[in-house]
Subunit: 156 residues, 2 copies
Amino acid sequence: MGHGHGGQDAAPLAERLRARGLRLTAQRQRVLAAVTALEHATPEAIGARLREEAGPGGAAPDTSTVYRNLELLERLGLVWHTHLGKGAPVYHAAEHPHLHVVCQSCGEIASAAPDLLDSAAERLAADLGFTVDVGHVALSGTCRACRERAGSEPSS
Amino acid sequence: MGHGHGGQDAAPLAERLRARGLRLTAQRQRVLAAVTALEHATPEAIGARLREEAGPGGAAPDTSTVYRNLELLERLGLVWHTHLGKGAPVYHAAEHPHLHVVCQSCGEIASAAPDLLDSAAERLAADLGFTVDVGHVALSGTCRACRERAGSEPSS
DNA sequence: GTTAATGCAAACTCTTTGCACATCC
DNA sequence: GGATGTGCAAAGAGTTTGCATTAAC
């Protein structure tokens, strides 16, 4: 851990694109901005946000462009995605690796410190030679509110 | 733990169906058998297996029936599903809860003991009141073979 | 005989792809 | 100007649903 980077680098997007001979477009900047602004956003939610920002009459990036750029931004190391179960994956800015915890009942997403899985990761590495990718991990279960709600309701 | 069941209980499917006024059909028995036989099978794979078993000219359960019965069997507590990332979920017989570990590169699925996450589960319960559902958890990462393969190849 | 379950076909969601046109460098 | 990126539309997985027919009890 610890590369000691404080906030965000100046313009990592432009830099990384140049380094690969790729182009900086308005769409790419907007998709990255939307991912950063919306935590845990699905591609659909990101698209909706962009349409909102564009306003009526304004042109928002096409859905296919959103998908293509999310994939690109992930390759560039600027965003990260996690599958929380069925349905769409969620994206977040790649600054701090963290772990996702999702409630099966209400869908609420909480974040946890990555070191939560350190001991499990060590055991897996030792036993299976398997390296856990903390950023992609989602733990599922039941949050306190849903647990209490379920307890107080009839079972049928 | 410890109901001391060596193999499988006699006919838990028939029992549980009766208890709910539901019917025992050939399709339900076959879907359950396929899930038990195939570890980590997707609905599609289960359907394919059933078509194979039926042979040419034989009638296999329809895809929609497979889906409906997987859902039912899960409600009955006989099968369990896990999302391993993008794509279809995988089903397994619900006998032993275990944890899934999936390699992002080759897609290989390994199983791990459920107590692997005990300490993490305790911390989550204490800090967030969140109860982890071990059976639904899939950890993603890289298996030893893929890790070594990646190390020996050019980065681009 | 009555209700539940199946099969079939169509709809639906989420995602990817092909290709002409527009854009960035 | 030349290659990359975008929008559009269509195709593609995976899953769900409505409804007539079939099968369980």
